[in-house]
Amino acid sequence: MTDWKAIAQARGVVWEESLEARQIATLITLESTLSVLVQTLPFELEPAPVFSPLVLPEEP
């Protein structure tokens, strides 16, 4: 399992003690659910274009 506290420290993120558990719980949820979802993707599926998530229509 990812050591989120260590990553936070390495990146200079210092959490208040009262927030730390909640922050880490959120990150664990995001990571674990995403990893399950990714397994369902077709191997060749490309990401949505970062700056135009929709296929923009041709210029008139």
């Binding site: 993120v13 929709l54 923009l56």
Partner: protein, 462 residues
């Protein structure tokens, strides 16, 4: 006088003037000051602008349906010479030397700018409980949030402080406040309205749109704002549609998708009944209600959260070292975004693509979808959890679960007031295919015309 169209008519029949309308709005801003809807009010400038616009009309120069109409902008739209704080200490003294594309177009169309509305800090949250510029309160109940992040804009429109207020929507920030304050909120398709000159929160999720008191008003505003803008490279080249619904308007033959899964699973029964009631009215008007199964929205929302966290952290990187200038909730989200990996971001974008393809297929079988906007009315200020059907949930995640995914998909969506629950307004959401705002506005207008959708009278909202 409640709507832009009514005011426009009165201006042209000389029943009122822009100066009079502006004074009325300024009086209401003052009367409801405790709602804290505005960060900046430009009273003298507005009155001067109104007088000039009145003089133009008298000379026969008519700029169109927005001529002389008093409006407000969420305080993240840059306005030349007027400070633009984004609800943040970081920008507390920022006075832009340019107008955003939205401000520019509305000004050219003859709108009178009343001021800049309060918002959730950096537009990054749903409460509009701003630690730097004060909490925005719900006009219907001061102990409730107005929703966010465009909370000041929604409160202003609900109370008649402005005929229209612009909002931005990254994960529900137009539609939630619209629902919680009892007004109409339109989030256009990604790329339909230029983002030039709007302080970014999330590059691929930010959408700009109006909060108003009728669907035809939303259409009039979109007609003004839609179109390509070379200064925003995400702006679509597709020419604007004709958005303003005819009168009478028809929905005969329309295929309305009503989700069988997810959207009615964890929602107050009263809200579910009101939304389904709208579907029944549309069926009476000739639409066909089609039960549909929607893709995995829980996962779609999670993908949206990852993209939001990472992009917002990236946008805020120049300010990471000024931690003490962020509110605690926003700082927590930025910290989370800093820790997610590049791999996870790309995987989220791949999942986004998958969901876009799934929704494109779904929207071949129906013309639009009808859902609740939020599962409950406005939560109390400070509420961290809400209980829905005996289950406690994180307030932010619960309130955004019907709206967040639409930003990931980039689709247009419209929140319509559909009634009161426990004395508070609630909303229904229509979402449609890319660039089909006109269809959503037509459906909304049809419901307005038969009285099924009404913005509750401002007089009640005290």
């Amino acid at each position: 006088m409640k709507t832009i169209q009514q005011a426009a008519q009165a201006l042209r029949t000389r029943q009122t003037t822009s100066e009079q309308l502006t004074q009325d709005c300024l009086r209401l801003i003052e009367r409801h000051r405790e709602v804290n809807a505005f960060i900046t009010v430009v009273e003298e400038r507005a009155l001067e602008q109104a007088r000039q616009l009145d003089a133009e009309l008298q000379r026969g120069l008519d700029r169109g349906p927005l001529h002389g109409i008093p409006i407000a902008l969420k305080d993240m739209f840059e306005t030349k010479g007027i400070r633009t704080t984004c609800g943040s200490r970081l920008f507390a003294d920022y006075v832009p030397n340019r107008d955003s594309a939205v401000a520019e177009k509305l000004s050219a169309a003859g709108c009178v700018l009343l001021g800049k509305t309060n918002l959730h800090e950096l537009a990054y949250g749903i409460t509009s409980s701003n630690p730097h510029f004060g909490f925005v309160h719900n006009p219907w109940n001061r102990e409730r949030i107005p929703g966010g992040s465009s909370g000041g804009s929604a409160a202003a429109v609900a109370l008649g402080m402005a005929f229209m207020a612009m909002g931005s929507d990254t994960g529900g920030s137009i539609r939630l406040p619209a629902a919680f304050c009892g007004v109409i909120g339109l989030k256009p398709t990604y790329g339909r309205v230029s983002r030039y000159g709007v302080l970014p929160l999330d590059f691929t999720l930010d959408h700009m749109g109006p909060l108003v008191r009728s669907c035809r008003d939303a259409a009039v505003v979109l007609q003004c704002l839609a179109g390509p803008d070379s200064r925003d490279h995400t702006s679509s080249q597709l020419p604007p549609d004709n958005y303003v619904p005819s009168q009478p308007v028809s929905v005969a033959g329309l295929r309305l998708g009503l989700p069988e899964n997810y959207y009615f699973d964890r929602v107050l029964p009263e809200i579910a009944a009101l939304v389904k009631g709208l579907a029944a009215r549309l069926e009476e008007l000739g639409a066909r209600v089609v039960p549909v199964r929607v893709p995995d929205i829980e996962s779609l929302n999670l993908v949206g959260r990852i993209i939001l966290l990472v992009e917002a952290a990236a946008a805020m990187e120049p300010f990471w070292h000024r931690r003490e200038e962020f509110g605690s909730d926003v700082l927590a989200l930025i910290d989370q975004g800093r820790l997610l990996s590049g791999t996870q971001y790309v995987q989220a974008q791949r999942c986004r693509r998958m969901f876009q393809l799934e929704f494109a297929k779904l929207l071949e079988s129906v013309d639009c979808l009808l859902t609740p906007t939020a599962p409950t009315p406005a939560p109390r200020i400070g509420s961290v959890t809400v209980v829905i059907q005996d289950e406690p949930e994180d307030t932010r995640l619960a309130m955004t679960r019907f709206v967040r995914g639409v930003n990931v998909l980039g689709l247009p969506a419209l929140s319509l007031p559909c009634g009161l629950v426990d004395g508070l307004p609630v909303g229904a959401q229509l979402m449609g295919r890319p660039f089909e705002e006109a269809l959503l506005l037509r459906v909304g207008a049809a419901l307005e015309d038969v009285g099924a959708v009404t913005v509750p009278p401002v007089a009640q909202a005290v």
